[in-house]
């Protein structure tokens, strides 16, 4: 029956996915993959929200997830637009080349 998996299992998987997302942000150079890693982190936070909501027997967790998804969609749209104009200016999207502010 549903609901027989303990909360701690979900929290462990959520923490693991969050760590992998942060690792992706730290080691990858492609800004598109960095963005995907950020999505992975948001997603793992959503999983923790839903798991806690089920444990506390409230729906607020799921409604928060809806809001997080909306903000993530907005963030992806603006972020990808930024990547597109950076590509237009520098003809590359390597994060190591984005050092225009360096003195």
């Amino acid at each position: 029956m549903p609901g027989s998996v303990p909360l701690s299992y979900y929290l462990a998987i959520s923490a693991l996915l969050f760590i992998m997302g942060s690792l992706g942000v730290l080691i990858r150079r492609n800004p598109l993959i960095i963005f995907m890693s950020i999505e992975l982190m948001l997603n793992s936070a959503n999983l923790a929200f839903v798991a806690f909501g089920r444990e506390m027997n409230v729906l607020s967790g799921q409604i928060m997830v809806l809001f997080v998804m909306t903000v993530a969609a907005a963030e992806v749209a603006v972020g990808l637009a930024l990547i597109v104009i950076i590509f237009r200016n520098k003809h590359s999207i390597d994060v190591d080349l984005m050092n225009g502010l360096k003195g």
């Binding site: 959503n46 839903v50 809001f67 909306t70």
Partner: protein, 174 residues
């Protein structure tokens, strides 16, 4: 070991493996497809947790809309593979060390303070899907009406921002 637990572990393996695939694949298109797989497995987690609406929103919004946008931009820019530039020798070990520290911290916080008191005032545990959707929408449009309206403004601002950012300025060489 019951069936739900087996399903959970299979999904956990799929989720972690696809996240690892996202981390190590050199090609951005493969990384995006690994992320779609990860989103799909998380959607099944939501179903296991009794959140069918969130599961379907996950599939349509994340795995559908957002990932299509990602793939579109990857192919538009030709950013599948970046040529290797210089490599910082300390970057990867440092990152892995920091991630391990974060993992220990997260585990400590989550499991040290995990003393939940089940709130039984609003039982949603044993309802069917129709009742679930009714309770969900009642809460969303009563208690959370203001945040719901604010998200519409967030989306509007994102839309305008995207258009303004990518619009070509007149006379500018593009």
């Amino acid at each position: 070991m019951n069936l739900t637990l087996i399903l959970f572990f299979v999904l956990a393996v799929v989720a972690v493996a696809s996240a690892a695939g996202l981390l190590i694949s050199r090609n951005a298109v493969y990384a995006a497809l690994f992320l779609v797989l990860n989103f799909a497995s998380v959607a099944v987690f939501y179903l296991l947790l009794g959140a069918p609406f969130i599961a379907l929103a996950q599939v349509t919004v994340y795995a559908g809309a957002i990932m299509v946008l990602f793939l579109f931009v990857i192919m538009l820019l030709g950013g599948e593979k970046l040529p290797r530039t210089y490599i910082l020798p300390w970057q990867r070990p440092t990152a892995i060390g920091l991630a391990a520290v974060l993992f220990v911290e997260a585990g400590f916080l989550l499991f040290q303070r995990l003393q939940l008191s089940a709130n039984l005032a609003n039982p949603i545990a044993a309802v069917n899907t129709t009742e679930y959707l009714q309770i969900f929408s009642e809460q969303l449009f009563n208690q959370y009406l203001l945040p719901f309206e604010v998200t519409s403004i967030v989306l509007l601002v994102a839309m305008i921002g995207t258009i303004v950012l990518t619009k070509k300025v007149k006379g500018e060489e593009a």
